[in-house]
Amino acid sequence: MEELLKVIDKNGLIVGFLCIGILTLGSNWLSKNLLKSRIPGSAIAIFLGLVLGYFGGFFTGGDKGIADIEIFNGIGILGGSMFRDFAIVATALGASYLLVKKSGILGMVSLVFGILIFFISGVVVAFIWGYRDPIDLCTIGAGACTYIVGPVTGAALGASSEVIALSIGAGLIKTIAVTIFTPIFAKKIGLQSPGSAMAFGGMMGTSSGVAAGLAATDPKLVPYGAVTATFYTGLGCLLCPSLFYYLITLLL
């Protein structure tokens, strides 16, 4: 047993490959046999991943989900930003440059609308909740954009750590909500073509959520959604602590 633990400990990433493989196998089995393929196996696997992430946090109190349990730390490497971004870039293999260029305007328009909708509704909810300080309102609104825009804005404006934590929480909930809602509502909102996927990526912004949601909907759409979504966080970090903060101080 000691020897096995030593092997596991030394080969984290390989253990991660094995674990995700087993999880995918189980999810595909569930999808086929219990759900008659009504929900794709990858959607179930991503959802089960979130459940594992919850239990990881529950048992260890850490912030990296299941990866905080020592023998599973390879899952954290596999799901970390390096492999995630590398694999997202590789999906461009299936995308056509011409289609991206054709839908470029729609993608940019949706980026602007997306940031506005998320920021404004976040600020309004916080205002109704009783927050009146412009720094707090702006940080919470930024958190509604993504869990990176929130803390970047909060740090730039000098928000309290309590409000920053709240903005990270809101951003994480957003990622999870987009992941779960996308495959459910994709058909209803007309999310079927590369162009609409580019608009969707710009609108929703959270690149993890958009990528995971589209992967569960139709993997062919992933590169189109990802190519716009990756600009959202940067644009949010640019606008929220500057122009948007200024507008809030004018309004209050």
Binding site: G16, I20, G21, T24, S42, A45, L48, G53, G56, G57, K64, G65, G76, L78, G79, F83, R84, D85, F86, A87, I88, A90, A92, L93, A95, V109, F113, F118, S121, V125, A126, I148, A165, L166, I168, G169, A170, G171, L172, I173, K174, A177, I189, G190, L191, S196, M203, M204, S208, A211, A212, A215, P219, A226, V227, T230, F231, T233, G234, L238
Partner: protein, 118 residues
Amino acid sequence: MIIYGLALLSFSYLLGQWLGELLGRILGINSNVGGVGFAMLILMLLKELFERKGWWKEESIQGIDFWNKMYIPVVIAMAASLNVKSAISSGNLAILVGILPVVLGFLFFPFLLKRFKQ
């Protein structure tokens, strides 16, 4: 050679990330702006170029295609290493601020598509 494709993917990735960092610096924010998006555009452009030149060989494509197909497993691993517990327990306001705008986004999305579709 598979490594050629993989090296091309790595080149696009690194160049894109570098551009993202530079753009972030120019805009005065301490963050990468669209690095992954730039990398994807670079890879798409290189693919067009290589296809035209006849350098786009089946075996080197496999080096990129492996990571293209590893995408969903990586996303599953990412979901499993998210801080789901703290997200759910960070309070009612965080849940409301996290979900309500997403619902609005889904409601607004069809209008955006209709308005801007040529």
